[in-house]
Structures are given as C-alpha cells and as structure tokens.
C-alpha cells in the first residue's frame, strides 16, 4: 500500500490560490474603536458587551478610554476575526478600524 507525501493519518495540505494562511492566522491585527462624540456612552458599552461578550465593567473601561483618550484597542486577533469584529461594530454604527500591529 502506498501513501502520498504525508504519513498515514495526516491530511493532505492543499494550497488555494489567492489565500495566504500566514496572513489570515497572524494574530497581529488590532481592532480599534474611535471616539464619535454623538454616540451615547451606554450605547457604546452595550455594543461592546454584545459584540465581545464582555462584562459590564470591562465594556465600560473601554468605553471610557474611547471617550477620554479618543480611541481604545479592543482586541488583537487574526485578520479574519478582526475583520468580523470591525464589521459587527460598523453594523452598530461605531467608528471602528483595523490596524496591523508591528
């Protein structure tokens, strides 16, 4: 019995053109929320709790950081997850962006 290039029991690795797994799995993408003075503070706290599942205390800490410092780094994730979070925050109307850390 002959096997492919991989030992028995291990899946074949197939490269898909146009997809860079290194980029997608790199946990170096920051999700940043910027101050938008019109958003209610309680609303921002609510959105952080909904999107990230945070406690009220943690959500309020980040909300206050946005309010006082103009921005808060909410999380550091892979590209795919960071993109997902930014999209969720945009759906709620918050001013959120992505940044590569490093």
């Amino acid at each position: 019995m002959q096997f492919g290039s991989n030992p028995p029991g291990l899946p074949e690795v197939v490269s898909e053109p146009g997809v860079s797994s290194d980029v997608e799995l790199d946990p170096g993408y920051l999700v940043i929320c910027w101050d938008d003075p019109v958003n209610l503070m309680d609303y921002v706290t609510h959105v952080f709790r909904k999107v990230f599942g945070w406690s009220k205390a943690k959500a309020e800490r980040h909300m206050l950081q946005v309010h006082h410092e103009g921005r808060s780094v909410l999380t550091r994730e892979s590209l795919e997850r960071a993109e997902h979070y930014v999209h969720q925050l945009h759906q709620y109307g918050l001013h959120a962006t992505l940044e590569h850390d490093g």
Binding site: D42, H46, W54, H87, H100
Partner: protein, 161 residues
C-alpha cells in the same frame, strides 16, 4: 414612552400617538448615515491591511437593507393607534437590538447633517431651514435609545471579565 411590563419574551411599551408617528418617521428615514462614513482603516485608504474595503461595504449595505426591511415590516405589522390613548408595543430582544441600530443611525446621521456640533455646548451647530428637524431627531433618537438601554440592561457577570 413608558415601559409597561417586562417578561421573558420581551418588553411592553406604551407610546403616545406623536411618539408612534416619530418612530414611523425614523423607520422611513433610515439609513441616514452615508456608507462612506465607515472605513476599515483610519485614513480610509485600506492600506496596511489585506482587506477589500468594497467587500465590507457590500456586506454592511446588505445588513442595512435587511434592517430597513425588518423595521418597516415591523411598523406595518404593528397595530395602529386608534383614539388619543396611543398604543401598546411589544418588542422582543431581537426587535430592540434592531431598533437600537436604527435609532443610532438616525441620531448619527442627523448629527452629521448638523455639522457635527459638540454634544455638550452645540458649538459648531450649523442650523439651516433644511437641517433644523435633525436637531430634534437627534435628541429624540437619543432619548428612546436611553430608555431601551435602561430596560434591557443585563446584570454584570464578573466571570466574563
């Protein structure tokens, strides 16, 4: 707008006729924030992150269209107020999340049309006959948002910190 009852399935509110009319107007105005307001990167160029901003904008546009259909359908399906007493509304948790997004959009969109004034002092307010209704809309949306948020506030769970 007054919270009448809270149950496992949602919240029951009493609205006056003017409040109902305003909510209907807000649903008709949504969306008010222009799509280009949301950017993937701070400078809007998309440089530095391998993300196609057009895809995110498309996805956001699809979400907005779905939200628009939901709230307008919800308005159509709600029992219209008869007489002067106003009406009773029952909202599920999902309904409230949708409404919070819609109210926030109309609030932010109104603020943009007013020239992004300072919230405390209204410095920078550029009031014209064309945008003056947005000052009222911004305040009304904020007050309804605050009531909804107060009603749905969940107790803190320290284990998730």
């Amino acid at each position: 707008m007054r919270l009448v009852r809270t149950t496992d399935g949602g919240w029951t509110w009493h609205l006056s006729r003017p409040e109902w009319s305003l909510l209907t107007a807000i649903a008709a105005l949504f969306p008010l924030v222009p799509p280009e307001h949301h950017q993937v990167t701070r400078d809007g160029s998309g440089q530095g992150v391998p993300v196609d901003p057009a895809l995110l904008h498309e996805s956001l546009a699809a979400h907005t269209a779905e939200l628009q259909a939901r709230v307008r359908g919800w308005i159509r399906g709600a029992r219209q107020p008869s007489g002067r007493k106003g009406l009773v509304l029952r909202l599920t948790a999902a309904d409230l999340e949708h409404w919070l997004q819609v109210l926030n959009d109309v609030r932010v969109g109104s603020w943009l049309r007013l020239g992004c004034p300072d919230q405390a002092t209204l410095r920078g307010l550029e009031l014209t006959p064309a945008n003056e209704r947005h000052l009222f809309l911004m305040e009304f949306c904020g007050s309804i948002q605050a009531r909804f948020l107060e009603a749905i506030e969940e107790p803190d769970d320290p284990s998730t910190d």
